[in-house]
């Protein structure tokens, strides 16, 4: 299905998404969620409307109740959501957790979750990370087999939408050492089992994340997804999709912060002239433009490669996330600097982009992680 989308389809989707987020979820809405310390952390009504348009099921097969438009289409939506810094379960449920069930879930698990996710009725969080920096295979949380299934002990951090999700997709270790790729297993579990303690963290970007502790949590044997110890083979390609998706969101955020800044350069006057007429600022703006365009090409190439299951998809994902990270760090810093004192105020929007930028940079691997991984992949 993803192959059948034409350039016109993508442009239509882009325009639809841009209009939707601009009208239903502008930057002001994000501020309001932040200022009222909203319990949910996103707007459930907006999410319902997004689901009605099919966006919650965009990666789910039609047979399972989704619309199966692929990563490029989801990236297009994420890019537009990045322009308005819209929080939604797109990243947690749609991009990160559900594809694991789509790819490797058994009949019961699929029937239990996929159509409900596509309807926007069910949220699933990926309980994966344990370290301050992205480390996909460093898993110390243990799942020990017993007669009733498995007993879980451990601690997860930076679980997106962890405090509002209905289910958890847990990454735990059933064998081997803590940093080995082998011995990792995936489980689909309820979030309200005895021994699970979920604490929302207040992040700099005001988005949802949680720390989750597992203390002798008994889960049924049937909650495992895929084979025992073979979780990394399922997880890794899903993480690559998630990385490309986050990079798409970052692309939108970078473009918006840049557009706001260029507009400011045209209207702010000093020394009797718009500051955008000064060559020192012009050249920096033009360099940012180039970096955004390079990141854009890299992101689209990665999303397309994922849809086409291209041989070098993982490499292109590294390129996309690495370029998006460098671009957004540059643009978010320059946006504040070029606004001068105004850029340091809470009232100016550029600060919101700076705060979200650093979170998105770390999410699923920063530029250092992806440069190293790229070098490994190409055999440097």
């Amino acid at each position: 299905m993803a192959d059948q989308l034409t350039q016109q389809d993508h442009e239509l989707l882009r325009d639809t998404a841009a209009r939707f987020f601009g009208e239903r979820s502008p930057l002001g809405a994000m501020r309001q969620l932040r200022d009222e310390q909203n319990e949910v952390g996103f707007d459930r009504e907006v999410w319902r409307e997004m689901s009605e348009m099919g966006w919650a099921g965009i990666l789910i097969d039609e047979a399972d109740g989704g619309v199966d438009l692929g990563y490029r289409a989801l990236g297009t939506i994420l890019e537009q959501s990045g322009r308005t810094l819209t929080a939604s379960p797109l990243l947690s449920t749609v991009l990160s957790a559900t594809p694991i069930i789509s790819r490797a879930g058994n009949e019961a698990q699929r029937a239990d979750t996929l159509s409900a996710v596509a309807d926007g009725a069910l949220m699933i969080a990926l309980a994966h990370e344990e370290c301050p920096r992205h480390a996909p295979h460093r898993i110390a949380t243990r799942a020990v087999k017993n007669d009733d299934g498995y007993v879980i002990n451990g601690k997860k951090t930076f679980v997106l939408d962890g405090h509002v999700a209905d289910r958890l997709l847990l990454v735990a270790r059933t064998s081997c050492e803590d940093d080995q790729r082998e011995g990792i297993s995936l489980f689909l579990i309820d979030n309200a089992l005895p021994g699970i303690r979920i604490k929302r963290t207040r992040m700099v970007d005001s988005r949802n994340a949680a720390n989750i502790r597992f203390n002798n949590v008994q889960i049924p044997a049937g909650s495992i997804i895929g084979t025992v110890g073979g979780g990394a083979d399922i997880l890794d390609p899903v993480l690559d999709g998630a990385r490309a998706g986050v990079a798409a969101e970052m692309l939108g955020s970078g473009q918006e912060a840049f557009d706001i800044t260029v507009e400011y350069l045209k209207v702010r006057e000093q020394f009797g002239a718009p500051i955008g007429s000064f060559q020192a600022l012009k050249h920096r703006a033009a360099e940012m433009y180039c970096e955004i365009e390079l990141a854009r090409s890299a992101v689209y190439a990665a999303l397309d490669a994922l849809d086409q299951k291209a041989r070098d998809a993982a490499e292109l994902v590294c390129v996309a996330k690495a370029k998006a990270c460098d671009m957004l760090e540059l643009v978010s810093n320059e946006a504040v600097q070029m606004h001068g004192g105004i850029g340091m105020t809470d009232e100016a929007d550029v600060g919101l982009f700076l705060k979200r930028a650093r979170v998105a940079q770390q999410l699923y691997g920063d530029v250092v992680f992806h440069r190293q991984r790229f070098a490994d992949l190409i055999g440097l």
Binding site: A285, C290, V319, K323, A375, L380
Partner: protein, 390 residues
Amino acid sequence: MTLEDFRSETRAWLEENCPPGMRTPMPDDERVWGGKNPVFKHPESKVWMERMVERGWTAPQWPREYGGGGLSRAEAAILTEEMNRISARPPLFSFGLGMLGPLLLDIGTQAEKERYLAPITRGEIRWCQGYSEPGAGSDLAGLQTRAEDKGDHYLVNGQKVWTSYAHHADWIFCLVRTDTSVKHAGISFLLFDMHSPGVEVRPIKLISGASAFCETFFDNVKVPKDQLVGEVNGGWAIAKQLLAHERAMISQLGARGGNRLPPFKDMARRYAGDANGRIADPLLRDLVARQLINDRAFESTSKRAIGSADAAAGVASMLKYYGTEQNKRKMEVIMKCAGYAGLGWEGEEFDDNDLVLCRSWLRSKGNSIEGGTSEVQLNVIAKRILGLPD
């Protein structure tokens, strides 16, 4: 014919017609530039060029009536892929193919197309570009070379500089001043024979030791009036249009290689890698990975830009700026990987690769100067794309 049929036919034709010697890496001095006194240093390069000329594939997308191949964009892309697949050398290098031809196809009269295009595709006339002057570099529109209207001809007086390969060129496309009372609106675009009386050329020795650029002097050069392209005093718009073609061409130099150096990754592994080519030093490895990531992103950007309907001036400037700066960064990283081995100037104590590296590193400094400096490209982007005020 479907694209798949075209591909198999093209593959078969290349298999049969591309000589074995034309499927090997090409030293700079084996490039075929054509012209009235063509040099075919490699014995097989002449027949290779002739076969491609006959097929129209020296200018694959030009109309057949002007010596081109009449291929669609998709077909031309397939031809390139199939040539790359067997590492076929480009049959002909030419500023006529890359710059003047596309311009004339766009804005030339029927007579101009008929007169100039086919000889370009056949490599019969070698063109050079007369743009920069000693007093007109980044401020190109400040050029002073005069073309005076003498009734039945123009009389050209002045000096050009950085004229690439002027000492081998047959004809020049040249910016001249036809009105001294205004700046941009007093420039015209003139074509003339470099063998005309009054033309003198002196090669300039560069930091790399090479002399591909020249000073070119015009002393009362007579030029027939029908060799002025476009309107009198309408040359600046033409000049800018041609610059966009040139910038797109220069931006791809680093990506395509085109010189005698092996690919960046291979060189990095050879100089800084262990026996298996793995780079143990984590900092060098990071420097190399960084540039390879940039290369991939730039490759995707070039594809996206070429795929879009119009390569606007601003986009050509972006490609030129990023491509040339990226090429310079890569050369610096390779110099770091090579250490002492990259510092040889000449002599048998260095192997040929080392010496080529050092000269190429020096040559790369010109990439971000020729065809408009990086600073000029940033100005164009700021103005044309971002709309920042003057």
